[in-house]
Amino acid sequence: MKWIDYASASSVQEAVDLLKGGGARPLAGGTDLIVNLRIRRLDPDTVVDVKGIPELNEVSYDASKGLTLGAAVPCYKIYNNKAVAKAYPGLIDVASLIGGTQIQGRASIGGNLTNAAPSGDSIPVLIALGAIANIAGPNGTRQVAVEDFCTGPGKTVLKQGELLVSLSIPAPVKGSGAQYMRFIPRNEMDIAVAGVGVSVVLENGTFKSARISLASVAPTPLFVKAAGDALVGKPVNDASIAVAAGIARDAAKPITDMRGTIEYRKHLCEVLTRRGLNVAIERAKENK
């Protein structure tokens, strides 16, 4: 690894000041950054440790306002938080399957999003939950919907000097449920061949709303708005689910690589959407 300087920021403003000159990268859990420094995929002169900034460590849940999740909060603090675990089982699906125990001790959901891998497991479920990215930069703060955050493999809307501060996730409403499901050939510690994040809101046996998003089948995690919209007003049954799953399959634009072929991944999108919706529906029925 080439020489790098290390700076620890104690406020958002200090981090933005350190980042705005360029040549610097924020360091949260480091489970992607340090690997990328070592293989020189990223080549900053300075890493700015953002774990000392209060806003990036925030985990505050309110049943009416929803969840504010600091961008540097490690996965284990999410699934060890009983209120968050109860309100957002879909988020817990991803916090407990990214890497293994050691990785979950450091890796953050904010880092998974800013790393912007097409296979980033947390991103489809954030999209399904309607999460908003809260960004601070030299020109103040702004908010971007997570479905608009990633612009290509490893690329995001963040401009030089901008920092992801936190994620805002709306409060779960009555009759809502969410889930993330991925396919990997192993049982754990692997990169998704395909992944699907879904959320539904049920009312009187019909879908009031639904959001479906895919991982590993496009240059960015893919929000398939049409798949969720197709469920609105439809009865909660296998026929409705099959229509949405078919739209998700057709929306996937995967490549063939060592993890799977185009045909296989499109098929997986259909299967995972169907199974994911069934889990989300069960969770929604328990969420009275």
């Binding site: 690894m1 080439k2 020489w3 790098i4 300087d5 290390y6 360091l27 859990g29 480091g30 489970t31 340090i34 690997v35 420094l37 070592r38 890493v47 440790d49 490690p74 284990y76 890497g99 293994g100 125990t101 050691q102 990785i103 001790g105 450091r106 049982n187 754990e188 510690m189």
Partner: protein, 159 residues
């Protein structure tokens, strides 16, 4: 000329001062600067778990922590697991159950297994296997490791 950083930390209960370059991982610092060579370098990218240490109460792969991040933290390594010449129950169970062959992965497995049993004294086989998913062993096939952790759980409850 770039200069080294002075870091003050606690390792296995003792205050330690060291100088390191900001690019050095905690694993490099432990092994090459401080001389604690029990933590092993396997993959150096967070997959194999041979470098597992306790970092402020939580297990992490020390290859993916910068040495400078250790400032003010409490670190536990394999060297702090035994009490003098008395092995920790996890160590004794691994040794007596032959849960190792070449031994490179063993420090990481022991640190991770001890952390599991401290928070979950009676884990199921499923829980053990998922907790240890971030530790790779190319010799044993894992079966003896899982049985050693189960044995250690019994020993710790009897102790």
């Amino acid at each position: 000329m770039p200069s080294k950083t002075h870091v003050q930390t606690t390792i296995n209960g003792e205050q330690v001062d060291f100088l390191c370059e900001p690019r050095q991982s905690l694993l490099e610092v432990l092994r090459d600067v401080i001389g604690l060579t029990g933590s092993k370098e396997g993959c150096n990218d967070g997959n194999c778990g041979a470098c597992t240490v306790v970092f402020d109460g939580r297990i992490v792969t020390s290859c993916l922590v910068l040495g400078v991040e250790a400032a003010g933290k409490e670190i536990g390594t394999i060297e702090g697991v035994a009490s003098g010449s008395t092995l920790h129950p996890v160590q004794a169970a691994f040794l007596e159950g032959a849960a190792l062959q070449c031994g490179i992965c063993t420090p990481g497995f022991i640190v991770a297994s001890k952390a599991l049993l401290e928070q979950n004294p009676n884990p199921t086989e499923h829980e053990i296997r998922f907790w240890l998913a971030n530790n790779l062993c190319r010799c044993t096939g894992y079966d003896k490791i899982v049985r050693a952790v189960q044995d250690a759980a019994v020993r710790m409850q009897e102790a």
